[in-house]
């Protein structure tokens, strides 16, 4: 049987796959039925559970669908633009709610990630999306995760209401610069997007305050914060521009997460677009760099030396190769920020080193026991009974040893 709902689901999940975000984390803890007999679901506190994985390597954590793929806009990179020839469909509020609950009860998902084409007007679209979230929360006591992709031009009242029911709100900037937006998404305006993000930011901070002066806790508002996505390699923006945009979004709009999505060809593509997919390795390097910027204390200028990231080495190793004078670093003495800069030491390993070091001095044998990537570490560190050959770091062909054979897997089977 090929029923109508299956057809809709085919169309509206196919249309949603170009959004890389699948995360369902960091919106705090909560559960249904703590005080009453109704409702379903919980948030476990940490990052959400990946319930499955598809052969593109991505995790399936949420029911990620479009409410509708009808759209009045004409963004070239988008499969749902008005000039595209794709099949169109629209879920009703009830269909979306039922599907979410039925999937959730079978432990397929952590919740719903709802996005939509613009149908009628931004306000009408946003209103229907809010109705779905509201019904899940109020009619069904759903305590799972809800991520709504906000419509940038919808009214502030609707944005505010969305935040009452959603754990996370997001607006995609799509392109890092206005000229690129002009070319690829003529109806989108970077200023308006930033404006909407700022409105959300203010709401989120306002509601984060533990208690109001009257002693009451303000209603929750998108406790998981906001995120966004940039498409990589459709326009000609270089990595420095892209990461520069991210740095601003993290510091000014207080975003939780910026996602990078390597441009990949879509069915019925617009002619303005490149024909070939952007290399996935670039997307990978951007994520690595993004991580270093947020958690490892690196600055943008440190990470992107030229305009593009080094594709052959991960950004931390590339930085180390450019800054050999800093090394070797003594693992028994260096402070945390310095340890974080050693290629091959992740944040967790650094924590481990700091904790061991309080009780005993680290020697080479300890590193082998900790199963660290010794080959990578070797030239950059010293411990109690080991220090590297200084000439090694200074030699001209030093970096050759880190050159990896082409990562075939990354470019497709």
């Amino acid at each position: 049987m090929h029923d109508k709902l299956i057809q809709k689901l085919e169309i509206l999940s196919d249309a949603a796959k170009y959004d890389a975000s699948c995360a369902s984390g960091s919106a705090g803890k909560r559960q249904a039925g703590k005080t009453d007999k109704a409702g379903i679901g919980s948030l476990t506190g940490g990052s959400g559970i990946c319930h499955s994985f598809t052969p593109d390597g991505r995790c399936v954590s949420l029911l990620k669908i479009l409410m509708t793929n009808y759209c009045i806009y004409d963004c070239h990179y988008c499969i749902n633009r008005v000039s595209s020839n794709v099949r169109r469909a629209r879920f009703s509020v009830k269909e979306t709610v039922d599907l979410t609950l039925n999937f959730y009860k079978r432990n397929y998902i952590e919740g719903l990630f709802l996005s939509s084409g613009i149908v009628g007007s931004p306000d009408l679209t946003m209103e229907s999306m809010v109705r779905i979230a509201k019904s899940l929360r109020l009619d069904h006591g759903f305590k799972g995760y809800i991520h709504l992709k906000t419509i940038p031009n919808a009214s502030p009242e609707l944005q505010a209401e969305a935040g009452l029911y959603a754990d996370r709100l997001s607006i995609n900037v799509e392109m890092p610069t206005q000229p690129s937006l002009n070319k690829y998404a003529p109806e989108k305006d970077l200023g308006a997007i930033h404006g909407a993000m700022n409105t959300l930011k203010d709401k989120i901070t306002e509601h984060k305050v533990d208690k109001t002066h009257s002693g009451k806790r303000p209603p929750r508002f998108a406790p998981g914060g906001q995120s966004t996505q940039m498409i990589i390699g459709a326009d000609d923006s270089n990595d420095k521009i892209i990461l520069g945009t991210s740095v601003k979004l993290y510091s000014e709009q207080k975003l939780r997460r910026v996602y990078y999505s390597a441009f990949s060809p879509i069915p019925d593509a617009s002619q303005v677009l490149p024909l070939k997919p952007a290399p996935l390795i670039r997307e990978h390097r951007l994520y690595q760099a993004d991580w270093l910027l947020r958690f490892y204390g690196f600055t943008l200028d440190e990470i992107v030396h030229d305009d593009m990231l080094d594709m052959d080495h991960d950004p931390k190793l590339a930085w180390a190769l450019r800054n050999r004078h800093v090394f070797p670093i003594d693992l028994n003495k260096a402070d945390k920020m310095l340890l974080l800069r050693v290629p091959g030491l992740g944040a967790r390993t650094v924590q481990k080193i700091l904790s061991i070091r309080r009780y005993t001095k680290l020697n080479w044998i300890d590193l082998t026991k900790m199963r660290l990537p010794l080959k990578k570490l070797k030239p950059f560190i010293s411990v109690g009974d080991y220090s590297p050959d200084i000439h090694l770091l200074d030699s001209n062909n030093f970096e050759l040893q880190f050159k990896q054979p082409k990562q075939i897997e990354l470019f497709g089977a």
Partner: protein, 264 residues
């Protein structure tokens, strides 16, 4: 030499009782042989040396919380050596170094962490990959799942399932034990009968449709998928039956997009 047979799985409570008793008698780890008989009878000591040490139980030992948490996970491992290892670490914390647990380069501690880590991962995968099917039960929703954890992970994840699906009737069956929840009480049943799990579910076809369509054929990263979802988990996950075809057809589908793009 003292032999202790823990006759239940995973055996955390039994291990703790027996360990306390051994400590009270000052029996060092090298004089204790731990066995795990996979039997469901709730009887602590199999045989010999039924010691009465109740009076000595008052001795208080300070064991760091982090160690107890590690024991809890490690004792859910399927490795029979877990009891001996945990007792040895316990002994060494008391008589050798109260900060032992921080020495992550110590052989015993490394092994303890390794066991705990394996159990944590196994338990996480259980909360991720377990699939409920609805039992046709005349209007009464009842969800049933069959899952084969590598370790005794059901015990670790009971809280999770009870919290998330509190107002739902469900049963989780594993080869060694089942947990039944009726929205109020939990009932455990040893060696359950897997034939009560339904073969199909009315919603599964939608899930399969979703899984096939959320996948992007223009980017294949099979290894990344296998890393997170090794094949050993596949047999109880309905969507995995689609994977082979999805990969086979992906090249042609991605190619078609490029060809179609050229036509404009």
């Amino acid at each position: 030499m003292k032999t202790i047979t823990v006759t239940s799985v995973p055996g955390f409570d039994k291990w703790r009782e027996a360990s306390r008793e051994c400590l009270a008698h000052g029996i060092p780890p090298e004089h204790v042989i731990w066995q795990n008989a996979h039997s469901v009878q709730d009887d602590l000591f199999g045989h010999e040396e039924q010691t009465q040490a109740t009076s000595n139980f008052q001795i208080k030992y300070t064991i760091p919380k982090s160690a107890l948490a590690l024991f809890k996970y490690a004792l859910c491992h399927s490795d029979t050596n877990r009891f001996a290892l945990c007792y040895r670490v316990l002994w060494r914390i008391i008589y050798e170094n109260k900060n032992l647990i921080q020495l992550k380069t110590d052989e015993d501690i490394m092994q303890l962490y390794a066991l705990a880590k394996a159990v944590k991962r196994d338990a996480y995968k259980m909360s991720a990959f377990l699939r409920f099917r609805e039992l046709n039960n005349e209007g009464n929703e009842h969800f049933v799942a069959w899952y084969e954890p590598e370790h005794y992970s059901l015990e670790i994840k009971l809280d999770f399932f009870q919290t998330r699906f509190k107002n739902m009737r469900w049963s989780i069956l594993t080869p060694y034990r089942a947990a039944h929840w009726d929205t109020e009480t939990l009932f455990l049943e040893d060696n359950p009968d897997p034939s009560v799990v339904p073969d199909d579910d009315r919603i599964e076809k939608y899930w399969l449709t979703y899984y096939a369509n959320i996948f992007n054929p223009a980017r294949i990263k099979t290894n990344a998928m296998l890393n997170q979802m090794p094949k050993k988990y596949w047999k109880n996950m309905p969507e995995t039956s689609l994977i082979d075809d999805m990969i086979k057809q992906s090249g042609a589908r991605a190619h078609k997009m490029i060809i179609d793009g050229n036509k404009h």
